[in-house]
Symmetry: C2
Subunit: 348 residues, 2 copies
DNA sequence: GGCGAGATTGTAACCGATTACAACCAACTG
DNA sequence: CAGTTGGTTGTAATCGGTTACAATCTCGCC
């Protein structure tokens, strides 16, 4: 079952069948109709390998993420794939596992499969790897680290605005001793979130207490350990802002383990709004970063780049505004002198 | 940069280059070495589209799942992809979204991309769709619903054994009023788990109380709602076994909301052991179903089928034994007449 | 009726590999 | 030394499309 069979049945050449399939306008409506009927009757569908070879376009996009088991990514992958399929594209997902060697493998996979574009939703991409895509004239879109001036589209998250919302929410509840549990410092997005928080605190006129600025690893255990360290301080914070939801979940776990209540004793704010956050006890107040929006912009960037006829790849920049979702993990701080200290030791 | 360039540089024909790349034994070691040096020097890598077209093998496997945002799947996808890449294969992941129409699209995508095999890790696959793979001589492996006699490999989960372990654990703690929150009844694996539980209870000589057999939806909210219904009963259960971890998490949420303690007042057991379960408060006692093991067997089934020279596709069956992981969500039931009833009404 | 423009269709080269088959070569045999 | 054999290499067809270019057809118009 190939294009020749269709051509024979429709009494046309393979060229006409090809043109019909690809929506070329150079086919007379009557002929096109005949071809379509032949396709229908034979149940024909084109061999994508042959198409890719002949046309030089694979209709495959690469999607590079760090780790699909990180709950930030599944929804992103799903949205991206959904858009791709609706537009006749396939997606190859590759996990870097946060490792440069694996990242290199990911890039190689993309090149071998001749992807028509690649969305890099992680920050492990070294410039020598970027060059390899550049050399292949492959459109790229990055998350936060793109550079339209260099031909790389960018989906820019306005962390500052999101963090500001969180700080505003917390301070308006009356908190002043605000701790932060950041992500691993070798992660670009973690550094950005941290910077945004420091800036926001300063803008609010709140001094930055270094001992309240903890470092986690963007996983539950890191949040838990960091919270433990914060609880060991002389003067504990009354509110904690975490760099992502998993960290916040870990922090809440540490608090529960010591029989501290959230939000009565300590308020906790997350970042990302992963699915489970809405269903925790207490439901997590967090800054939602819409993965669907990110996926949508990333896809659009690649899709548009692919439509150009000639010339350099058009690079665009999109900006995503996170959104504070207030749930039940935040409340005013406990009254001075009571609260935490009082409850200490009353546990089981 | 194509195979001809390599051939020229190594002073051989393209056929010899191809043979060298594909590890044919018909190449003299000295020649092969020369070819390899040429490949190295030019930084050549083959065009997979051309390879697929010429050889009829795409080196792509299809992986059909129901929904990547269901926390059961990411680890499975990751493990499968990892094995595939290590063996020179690429993976196309497709989500059915539990919908027959979308499933049809998934199948079509697989056929168009000429996958060398397809792992179907969901149960929405109708027999007319299976036939399409059969017609294309495409090896298949299913999760639980395969049929080696029909040429479809199967990864069979021994739910009965896993459920038995859970029931044994709970009864040995002294529980007799045991509730079950199952999955949606239109889901094959949910029905299987339910059947296994009923059988296990009977084997233990415990009567099956229909009002304790609840139905959830394998998501958090379903578990929560089902638990609410169980708590409204005259005689509440002292232990709950859930059909998956999300359901268990929902159940625990419902309990916490009423100020019931887990495990002091009610014990909860999950199923699957998704990553987050170990980090909850309390950490969830659950039956681990290793996604890595499932992915491994599924890959092996396809990989072996692909190695056959001639003849029918060899179908195999693998059996996976789940494993009880005891954490902190289970304990002996509260003393009779006290416990739950005592605590009722003391909430906030 | 003849001519040119524009629309439609066909011919065939091409994409970059794989692989059946033929050709060649060296070593071994009788 | 001719004939065989087995190992190595090359030639060229093939996979199934796409697409540049050529060919043809259809009108409108003078």
């Amino acid at each position: 079952m190939n294009i020749q069979a269709v051509a024979d049945r429709a009494r046309v050449s393979t060229a006409t069948v090809s043109r019909t399939i690809n929506g070329s306008n150079k086919v007379a409506p009557k002929t096109a109709e005949r071809v379509r009927r032949a396709i229908e009757a034979l149940g024909y569908y084109p061999n994508t390998n042959a198409r890719a070879l002949g046309s030089g376009r694979s209709r495959i996009y690469g999607l590079i993420i760090s780790d699909i088991t990180n709950p930030f990514f599944p929804e992103l992958v799903k949205s991206f794939e959904d858009m791709a399929v609706r537009n006749g594209y396939e997606v190859i997902v590759a996990n870097t596992g946060y490792s440069p060697e694996r990242t290199e493998v990911c890039v190689q996979r993309m090149l071998e499969r001749k992807v028509d574009g690649v969305a890099v939703m992680t920050s492990e991409m070294g410039s020598h790897l970027i060059d390899r895509f550049h050399r292949g004239q492959i459109p790229m879109v990055f998350l936060d680290t793109g550079d339209p001036a260099n031909g790389i589209s960018n989906v820019l998250v306005d962390y500052a605005a999101g963090v500001d919302d969180a700080v505003e929410h917390i301070t308006s509840l009356g908190h002043t001793r605000i701790a932060f549990i950041g992500g691993p410092m070798d992660l670009a997005s973690a550094r950005t979130r941290r910077q945004a928080l420091l800036a926001s605190l300063k803008r609010k006129g709140l001094g930055v207490n270094k001992s309240l600025m903890e470092v986690g690893n963007h996983r539950i255990d890191g949040g838990r350990a960091a919270m433990d360290r914060l609880l060991a301080l002389e003067e504990r914070p009354t509110a904690v802002i975490a760099s992502n939801d998993l960290t916040a979940i870990g922090a809440i776990g540490a608090l529960h383990r010591r029989n501290l209540r959230v939000p009565e004793d300590i308020s906790v704010v997350g970042f990302d709004d992963i699915e489970i956050s809405a269903f925790l006890h207490p439901a997590l107040t967090t800054v939602r970063l819409s993965r669907a929006a990110i996926a949508d912009r990333a896809f659009q960037a690649l899709f548009r780049a692919g439509k150009r006829e000639e010339g350099p790849i058009p690079a665009v920049e999109y900006r995503i505004r996170p959104e504070l979702i207030v749930r039940n993990s935040t409340a005013p701080p406990p009254a001075k002198g009571k609260g935490i200290t009082l409850l200490k030791g009353t546990g089981e």
